[in-house]
């Protein structure tokens, strides 16, 4: 038997580890277009960018275990296509950038995502942040300049970079087209709290305004950002954090359904013999009764684990029992560190959900809130309240029932 894992990032290597811990002893091929193992990403917008950690500290935990897992690790090789042979039962033939091909019995796709940009041009002083190289290049540019920093996009990356740049003593403007930061994940009241947090720390936060144009000096280096309202913000360095695009282009001619990532069923299965995990996977989470794609650190580990077990069941390995495995129905969890605040959320709130404060207060910057949708608790969110968030998450994993979760706090 053989398993091919496309992508050596968090989800892909978590899958590799789980294949081995499940007793699978046959071939595991792992390919990745990068020449080196992708970094552990959370420190890239924080400790590494701030210069507090040496770059090598942002290494995936898996790096020190690779030798135990007996992987055929082929770095610098990306997958370019899948050809499915209708007469064979496997996932098909996966072609790599060097022209060679792999025909596995099970295929795990974990090709991740890449950052969106506001321009197709390469402009000196304009940065994206995804990999270690990006973090180090941004740090070098911050070292080499002393003018203002403009961060475009107040998602997690943008908000964390803004906080880190403030800690380095830089003037920072944070621009967000939506009415409040982090609106793709947080209800507005929490976004407003985050905006206030940045303002209290000296960031010029501009909401509800887009970017019209990037302006350069005569040498071609960035000099400012022209906003959609006509105003100009001077910039020595610009960081763009406006979300990511799942890496699925290589699958365009494959039979896989591509719709905001790789469309999978509730067991992360994309096609016979093919599963997906991490940023690239869109799957049906039966707990929330909706298709979702989650771009979070812990989620990538969890989904990689599940995908490995699922592909073993698909290949008929050992006594893997789909009945026991069940659907992949996690309560997504993530954290973000900004200034002295640790923001954590478990669950999946809608903008229309009722927010109930259960602990602390916004004013003291230390609180926990629950989000209520009908008779369910859709999410728990805490600021510097890790215990409360985790206790509620444990309840949510058992049941979303509102009464059960609120009883923790009454």
């Amino acid at each position: 038997m053989s398993v091919l894992i496309v992508g050596a990032s968090l989800a892909g290597l978590s899958a590799a580890e789980t294949l081995r811990s499940s007793g699978y002893k046959d071939e595991i091929v792992v390919v990745d277009g990068w020449d080196s193992l992708p970094s552990d990403r959370p420190p890239l917008s924080k400790q590494v960018l701030a210069g507090e950690w040496p770059p090598e500290k942002a290494t995936q935990r898996a790096a020190s275990h690779l030798h135990e897992w007996d992987l055929d690790l082929r770095l610098g090789l990306a997958a370019t296509s899948i050809q499915v042979d209708p007469d064979s039962s496997g996932p098909g033939r996966v072609t790599l950038t060097d022209g060679t091909a792999v025909e596995p019995d099970g295929l795990i796709i974990a090709t991740g995502s890449r950052p969106r940009n506001v321009t197709d041009q390469r402009i000196d002083g304009v940065h994206l942040l995804r990999n270690l190289e990006d973090s180090l290049a941004l740090r070098d540019d911050l070292d080499a300049t002393d003018g203002p920093v403009v961060v475009i996009g107040a998602g997690f990356i943008g908000a964390e970079v803004a906080a880190t740049c403030r800690s380095l003593g830089r003037d920072v403007t944070l621009i967000e087209a939506a009415p409040s930061p982090l609106m793709r994940v947080f209800p507005q009241a929490i976004g407003d709290f985050v905006a206030d947090l940045h303002r209290a720390n000296g960031v010029d936060v501009r909401l509800g305004v887009g970017v019209a144009e990037l302006e350069c000096d005569p040498t071609g280096r960035i000099s400012g950002v022209r906003m959609s309202d006509g105003s100009l913000v001077e910039a020595a360095v610009v960081v763009v954090g406006i979300g990511v695009i799942p890496n699925v282009e290589w699958l365009a001619d494959s039979p896989l359904r591509l719709d905001n990532g790789i469309h999978c069923d509730e067991t992360c299965l994309a096609a016979p013999g093919v599963v997906a995990a991490g940023d690239v996977a869109s799957w049906y989470n039966p707990r929330y009764r909706r298709q979702m794609r989650v771009e979070q650190w812990e989620h990538a580990i969890q989904q990689g684990e599940y995908a490995a077990k699922r592909i073993l069941a698909e290949m008929g390995f050992g006594d893997t029992d789909m009945q026991a495995l069940g659907a992949f129905d996690p309560v997504p969890w993530f954290w973000s560190d900004q200034y002295d605040k640790k923001i954590q959320m478990a669950g999946f709130p809608d903008a229309s959900d009722e927010m109930v404060l259960v602990e602390g207060s916004f004013a003291e910057g230390r609180f926990a809130v629950l989000f209520r949708r009908g008779d369910e608790c859709s999410a728990v969110l805490g600021v510097n309240r890790p215990r409360h968030v985790m206790q509620a998450r444990m309840k949510l994993e058992a049941s979303l029932d509102w009464d059960g979760v609120i009883s923790l706090f009454r």
């Binding site: 978590s14 580890e17 552990d40 959370p42 935990r61 650190w297 812990e298 580990i301 969890q302 969890w333 954290w335 560190d337 640790k342 954590q344 510097n384 890790p386 215990r387 968030v389 985790m390 998450r393 444990m394 994993e397």
Partner: protein, 63 residues
């Protein structure tokens, strides 16, 4: 097996508590407490899971 925490790295994300509450507890002071430094063998899989999912790689296990 013996569980230990590197408190220079630990940021009390409390993921470990969610996976193995018998061993890990984050209290109201936001600090992580190890309830059982030498947990019984039947908790090994979950302790290993907690180590794997710690966002700060702050946990370790000695056999």
């Amino acid at each position: 097996m013996k569980v230990s925490v590197d408190y220079d790295l630990c940021e009390s994300n409390a993921i470990c508590m969610g996976i193995a509450p018998e061993v890990f507890e984050v209290r109201d002071d936001d600090l992580l407490y190890i309830l059982d430094e030498n947990p019984p063998e039947e908790l090994r899989a979950r302790v290993e899971e907690a180590i794997k999912r710690c966002p700060k790689q702050a946990l370790s296990l000695e056999d």
